[in-house]
Symmetry: C2
Subunit: 305 residues, 2 copies
């Protein structure tokens, strides 16, 4: 990536992050919304701790950039992006729990159950997952009902039994019985891949893009998901806690099989190059309009934290 | 309630339970559905343990009876009922966790985290909540997109921050700082009331009933919710573990304020009589067609377990 393109991407990522955070801040203040009986302040504080924590907002970026590629209304795209980020943040809060990965740090801050308590963290996660579907069906932005319903179904599938939740279940089992390469690929496609894939496809859905374009963005999302996981595994192997803002070297320590562990870092770096090429090829038909999306793929593959 | 009406109600409740359980069994077998990558067998077993456990299926009954009152398609009503039951069962699984109410028994069986483990119970709950929205947006039954979206929004609101999850948060706080009567009413309206109210309203929504009829059923659901909670508090005070199939006497033991605790059982029984009368008056315009719904209100107020 040229320095100029890289700077442009970082700028765009920060701008999109600010957009989605402004939606999230509005959603999670202490004031009860229409149809709500009351909002427990401690629950809201825990939710804000888990959501407004300086994340990179990669998934929202992918939604909003994909949506922009097909000329979707920015307001609708930002809300769909916020819904997806709620699901991502809920998954981090629950994954960090003592019964799961038992992590004390997330993005350099205490995890929600450390800053509050376990019960509050469980409920904050539950609330965020529920709110995601509230957002998609809310009257806060304009979008056709049929389109909203496709988004609800897609999010439920990407986040549910056959997607993210199932992937986390496989990941927990992997520590006791390391899966083979096929098993690792399935696990990762579910645990992190499904939501990244959905992010890219959802933008096209919001915009009412053709089935072919939706499929193209979905395949782009799949390549991005694979690259994300390889980069994550490489980072876990080579980075330290100060750079990551969370525990490092956990995979090897927990005896978890990763593709990097199975095939080595040199192989992983070659794979990453291949995935970036694939991602770029998929978006070639859109020319310069897709520059930020392909820059995102490269950023994800190259990221240092 | 006459013996004859009571027998008819029990029969109808059992029949509706079988209908919704047949939908739930179909949803939670080990076979991956369209759009799912894989289904981890242990997760599916834990979900089935938490869902197919001999519950009375009161909420599904209310959905299906309300829907039938306005001539809705039974297939659609059964699926909406199943979605609601998924949310109810997820809330039981999470509420039973050691970090929350720390219960070992549920309906006479080990709770999910006792039968499996905590991480699996957390994920099974997450999966059930997600699946509820999958069901509402699925192509398994016919329903207009606009109607589905009203159901998604209503379920998210009833189950979310300003409803069930927020209510559980207030309930946890209540042990440390018992709320006053207004506080208890708010807590209960959120924790148990919101979902029961939604159950009654959702049936009318599925059927495309008028706004006035939806509101009438929603008010009926609110009365049912209040009666449910009073009966629950009375049971906790007077019953034992063998009858309840779960721990008894927990409220007083945990120092939790209930309306029964604040005002006494005699007051509670008078309140219950008033609520049943209110529920019956609300459904009077529907005549004999609403007999099973009013019987349900009476059953809920009188229940012994």
């Amino acid at each position: 990536m040229t320095t100029e393109l890289s700077a442009l991407f970082e700028q765009s990522l920060a701008m999109r992050a600010e957009t989605v955070e402004s939606v999230l801040r509005g959603l999670f203040d202490d004031r009860a919304r229409n149809g709500e009986i009351a909002r427990p302040p401690r629950l809201m504080a825990a939710i804000r701790h888990g959501v407004l924590n300086g994340g990179k907002r990669l998934r929202p970026f992918l939604v909003m950039e994909s949506a922009a590629l097909f000329g979707a209304a920015p307001e609708a795209a930002a809300h769909v992006a916020a819904a997806l980020e709620c699901v991502h943040c809920y998954s981090l809060i629950h994954d960090d729990l003592p019964a799961m990965d038992d992590d004390d740090l997330r993005r350099g801050q205490p995890t929600v159950h450390r800053a509050y308590d376990e019960a509050t963290a469980i409920l904050a996660g539950d609330a965020l997952l529920t709110t995601a579907f509230d957002i998609l069906s809310s009257s806060d932005f304009e979008l056709a009902d049929t389109t909203r319903l496709i988004l609800v179904r897609g999010l439920a599938r990407a986040a549910g039994i056959g997607g993210m939740v199932g992937g986390q279940m496989l990941d927990l089992a992997a520590a006791a019985a390391p899966p083979d390469e096929t098993g690792v690929i399935t696990l990762q496609a579910m645990k992190t891949g499904a939501l990244l894939r959905y992010a890219c496809e959802a933008g096209a859905v919001v915009a009412g893009a053709s089935a072919a374009d939706r499929e193209r963005l979905s395949e782009f999302g799949a390549a991005v998901g694979l690259a994300f996981q390889l980069a994550d595994d490489l980072l876990d192997l080579t980075s330290d806690v100060a750079t990551l803002g969370k525990a490092a070297g956990k995979d090897a320590g927990a005896g978890k099989a990763t593709l990097v562990g199975l095939n080595g870092p040199a192989w992983a770096r070659r794979q990453l190059d291949g995935l970036i090429l694939q991602a770029e090829t998929l978006l070639e038909p859109f020319g310069a309009d897709a520059a930020m999306l392909t820059a995102a793929a490269r950023f994800i593959a190259d990221r240092k934290s």
